[in-house]
């Protein structure tokens, strides 16, 4: 089992939250809102591409819109594998954080 990176985890979760309306533009907007930082197109695209090639994401092609200059949009959806990986991820997080009090991190 490969562990997901933090970035991948964030992106997968974002796609999950967007419920089927997850194109690169929407994902990027969510991520910016979530982190408050700038995400370049490449920052988003590269993990998306990698995860689709690893079989975590399935892709379907949406309708072209005028706002996109008449170009089609690619929507991403999680595969069952990705969901399994996320669940694993969550479990690991919980296991790893168990027993660490918030005060332990204070300087």
């Amino acid at each position: 089992m490969n562990y997901l990176t933090r970035k991948e985890e964030m992106i997968l979760l974002t796609i999950l939250k967007l419920r089927g309306q997850a194109g690169l533009v929407q994902i990027r907007k969510e991520l910016i809102a979530l982190t408050g930082e700038e995400w370049t197109v490449g920052n988003v695209y590269v993990p998306l591409d990698r995860m689709s090639k690893h079989g975590y994401l399935s892709v379907y092609i949406g309708k072209p819109t005028s706002r996109r200059g008449g170009k089609a949009v690619k929507y991403y959806r999680l595969t069952s594998e990705a969901k399994k990986a996320l669940a694993e991820c969550k479990k690991i997080h919980e296991t790893v954080w168990t027993g660490i009090r918030d005060t332990a991190l204070e300087e």
């Binding site: 591409d49 819109t65 170009k71 690619k74």
Partner: protein, 873 residues
């Protein structure tokens, strides 16, 4: 939020359009557009503009590298499967890659050879603006081209025709004795040239000034090599070289040595003024005779026709009023080597070589295809599995092509190693200075890349298309029988391989026979036991005393001096003859000889008499009267051409413009081959000059006591030509060197056919082993039922024999046609029909080689105990 669509900045958009990977382009481009519009609405044009450009700097590289790293991963996967496949079938891979490597090595060598031939005069960066002027005679039986031009021509052109930036004449000296201090050698590369030689040929001066170096009389520029030969490490400028016995020439400059790939490589360049001073007015202003080569540099003119028109406009003023049919033509210096009648290279040969190179590469590719399809049964299951798992056809095609490309690359690496090892041998055969590092040249690299792609595509195409088309279900149920599919195609491939091999074998045999024929054909004169010395020193003025002295020795049978030796007579002029139609004149060859020429070379007279010392009027120019200028001897062909029944006493008139000089025929000799056997024997006339025909002194000696005779000759030579080394050679050695290019063609074809056969056999061996393997059970069952080993061997070789026989039937007419064309280039050649056995022998040879190849596998299968082959069911 939703405004109209705003188009992002044009240039930035163009970059995005062109640098995104094709598969992702529309989506990502759309994403860019959408975000651009969002920002535009929110923060205005400036922010959106800045964002878009920033993305190009930040996102594009990321996306691009993602794409690239993915391709590398894919490639690594292909490489892994391919190498695994190669390893699993070691023998098969070896056959494949070895075959391809040998084919490619052959191709690369041919490429190097061809590139070298095309590289002539490349060191002269002006070569395409330098033109060589030659003379064409139009009124003769066929167009007759002459390399030399009148002496004053280029000077006049330079004065009168605009655009000629520079010019030079090249007048070659005959072999001359050159001495300096205590060194003394005969030099053959000595010429007289104009100062323009440096610009025209781009000779670079190491010492001396190109403007003044060849300005004065009796000065010369030499190559580094010559400078070192005569003056060692000392500075040669200002020192003297002595020509002959008494003419001092001062060295005024040194040029760098000539590269090997040039046909213009004089060693000692003497100022043209020297030639003018030595030869006088008759030489300098003679528009009628043609003695030297002319080259002009015309940077501003690209049309040959325009240039010829301009030259004609000038030359027409100097042409003789009557009977002068000369037309001046030009050709580019860069084209002389390969495309000119005067070039030493031969474009035809290059075409033949390139063709053969392709054929051999093709045979190697065929091997690959053959073995791959033959093995298809084994891989059919792999293909079926891949398909079931979800591989698309396109991916399978990519995989198979990938495999063949990787094999091609491996073979190329091997091939290059082979080439490195073989270069010295090829150098020996062709005499070319090819080097391994020339592979780095763009043209060669391009050729290699082309060969790689061709090989990869060609050898991978059939397996890729054929294997990838398997339907998974029948394959996996075992319904596709081993290698049944594609068997017909394989047959065609094997047949064509053997066709190529047989054609090459036949060609080699025919070359060999033709060369043998040319070497041994009686030329109409004797070439054995004749010692030749180039005339030098005092005998140039009068050869009689030496001749008399030599004749004293009983071992010396005959001595003659002649302008040219009988195998190569190349002087000509225009003549007309008694009874010729008005205005008709033709260019015919001539030689100037003494009384003993016919006797020494044993050329038989068939009518009339030989020149005689008792008849003074035999001599050319015996009287000053042009109406009766002496007697001549003709050959049969001349008599035939003139249409005379009884030639003795008839008149032949030499035409020099308006000047006509009449000679009387006193004898006719049997035709002899005075030039290469490529040319038919033409008309010939022979003049007498017993005192100084210049040229050569030929001595026919007895086969006994050769060493003593030579020593005697040297002694007598030294008495008269004191200080001139006695350099002699045997006449028959000249003929060893004749037809050198045909000889190297034959040698190379020998190797080519060997390679083609070798490659074809590799393939056949693979196929045979495959067939034997496939039929293991059949053979087992046959043996159980009582078939003998011999019957089994016959069974297994029968198919292959049929293919080779079929290949013969196709190859014979092709070879017949090609060889007839080649032999057509020789006026005297073997009769191809009378050599039918060559075809037969080549066919049988191919068959026997095929049998040996297949026989091993067949025998192995035949002696196998049937228990072993049947047990595993």
């Amino acid at each position: 939020m939703s405004g109209n669509f705003r188009h992002p900045p044009k240039l930035a958009n163009w970059v995005v359009e062109h640098f995104l990977p094709a598969s992702e382009r529309p989506f990502l481009n759309g994403d860019f557009d959408e975000i651009y519009n969002d920002i535009f609405d929110e923060k205005g044009h400036g922010a959106a503009f800045r964002w878009y450009w920033a993305q190009i700097a930040r996102s594009l590289p990321q996306i691009f590298f993602q794409y690239l790293s993915w391709s590398v991963i894919m490639f690594k996967n292909y490489l892994k499967t391919t190498l695994r496949n190669l390893q699993r079938h070691k023998g098969y891979s070896l056959l494949n890659i070895a075959g391809l490597a040998v084919g490619m090595a052959c191709f690369v060598l041919i490429l190097l050879y061809v590139r070298y031939e095309f590289s002539y005069e490349e060191n002269n960066h002006q070569a395409s603006h330098v033109y060589h002027i030659y003379v064409e005679h139009t009124k003769t039986d066929e167009i007759y081209r002459v390399r030399s031009t009148p002496v004053p021509l280029v000077e006049a052109l330079h004065d009168e025709v605009p655009g000629i930036e520079s010019y030079t004449r090249i007048d070659s000296f005959p072999k001359t004795l050159v001495s300096a201090e205590n060194k003394k050698f005969y030099e053959t590369g000595m010429v007289c040239v104009d100062p323009g030689v440096f610009d025209v040929f781009g000779f670079r001066l190491l010492l001396g000034d190109k403007k003044t170096a060849l300005e004065k009389v009796n000065t010369a520029v030499v190559t580094e090599q010559i400078a070192e030969k005569y003056f060692g490490k000392e500075n040669p400028v200002g020192k003297n070289l002595v020509l002959g016995s008494s003419l001092p020439i001062m060295v005024t400059g040194v040029i760098i040595n000539h590269p090997p790939n040039t046909d213009i490589d004089p060693d000692i360049l003497v100022s043209f003024k020297t030639a003018e001073e030595l030869s006088g007015e008759d030489y300098t202003n003679n528009w009628l005779s043609q003695v030297l080569q002319s080259y002009i540099l015309v940077p501003g003119e690209d049309s040959i026709e325009n240039l010829e028109d301009k030259i004609e406009a000038c030359f027409s003023k100097y042409r003789a009023k009557e009977g002068d049919d000369r037309i001046l033509r030009v050709e580019r210096l860069s084209r002389i080597h390969l495309f000119s009648v005067f070039g030493e290279g031969n474009f035809r040969t290059i075409q033949i070589f390139l063709g053969v190179g392709f054929l051999i590469l093709l045979t190697a590719c065929i091997n690959f295809m053959n073995l791959a399809t033959a093995r298809s049964a084994g891989r059919a299951r792999e293909v079926g599995m891949r398909k079931v798992v979800g591989a698309r056809r396109k991916q399978l095609i990519t995989q198979f092509l990938g495999e063949s490309f990787i094999s091609a690359v491996l073979s190329l690496v091997l091939a290059l190693m082979l080439v490195a090892a073989l270069i010295p041998a090829v150098k020996n055969i062709t005499g070319q200075a090819i080097r391994f590092d020339q592979i780095g040249q763009p043209a060669i690299m391009l050729g290699l890349l082309g060969a790689l792609i061709l090989t990869g595509l060609l050898s991978g195409s059939y397996p890729a298309l054929f294997l990838s088309a398997f339907q998974p279900a029948p394959v996996l149920r075992g319904m596709v029988k081993s290698g049944k599919k594609g068997a017909g195609f394989r047959k065609i491939l094997v047949v064509s391989q053997f066709c190529i091999s047989i054609i090459l074998i036949i060609s080699t045999f025919i070359f060999t026979r033709q060369i043998h024929f040319m070497r041994n054909k009686s030329l109409g004169f004797t070439r054995d036991q004749i010692v030749v010395v180039q005339n030098q020193g005092r005998t140039l003025r009068n050869v009689e005393p030496l001749k008399q002295a030599l004749k004293e020795n009983p071992n010396i049978l005959s001595v003659t001096s002649s302008m040219m030796l009988p195998h190569r007579i190349s002087m000509y002029n225009d003549v007309t003859w008694e009874g010729a139609p008005a205005d008709e004149n033709i260019a015919i060859q001539h030689n100037t000889v003494d009384y003993d020429f016919l006797e020494t070379f044993q050329i038989p007279l068939i009518a009339g008499r030989n020149f005689s010392p008792d008849i003074p009027s035999d001599k050319r120019g015996a009287t000053r009267d042009p109406k009766n200028a002496g007697n001549i001897i003709l050959n049969e062909e001349a008599v035939k051409r003139f249409g005379w029944e009884n030639p003795i006493g008839r008149k032949v008139i030499q035409v020099f413009g308006e000047l006509r000089i009449t000679y009387t025929v006193i004898g006719v000799v049997r035709d002899f081959h005075y030039s290469s056997l490529k040319n038919p024997i033409g008309p010939l006339k022979i003049f007498l000059n017993n005192r100084s025909p210049l040229g050569y002194i030929s001595v026919r000696i007895k086969p006994q006591n050769v060493q003593e005779t030579l020593a005697f000759m040297e002694k007598e030579w030294q008495q008269i030509n004191t200080g001139y080394p006695f350099e002699h050679y045997f006449y028959d050695s000249v003929f060893e060197r004749q037809y050198q290019s045909e000889k190297s063609l034959q040698t190379l074809f020998g190797y080519f056919s060997f390679l083609a056969v070798f490659i074809a056999c590799l393939g056949l061996f693979g196929l045979a082993s495959f067939a034997a393997e496939r039929r293991t059970k059949e053979v087992g069952i046959r043996k159980v039922f009582g078939a003998s080993s011999r019957e089994v061997v016959f069974l297994l070789t029968k198919d292959f024999s049929k293919w080779v026989l079929l290949a013969n039937i196709i190859a014979w007419p092709v070879a017949f046609y090609a060889m007839s064309r080649w032999l057509g280039g020789f006026a005297y050649h073997i009769d191809i029909l009378r050599n039918w056995h060559v075809f037969f022998v080549s066919g049988v040879l191919a068959l026997v080689i095929a049998w040996i190849t297949v026989g091993y596998q067949a025998a192995k299968a035949a002696v196998n105990n049937p228990v072993n082959s049947l047990r595993n069911e």
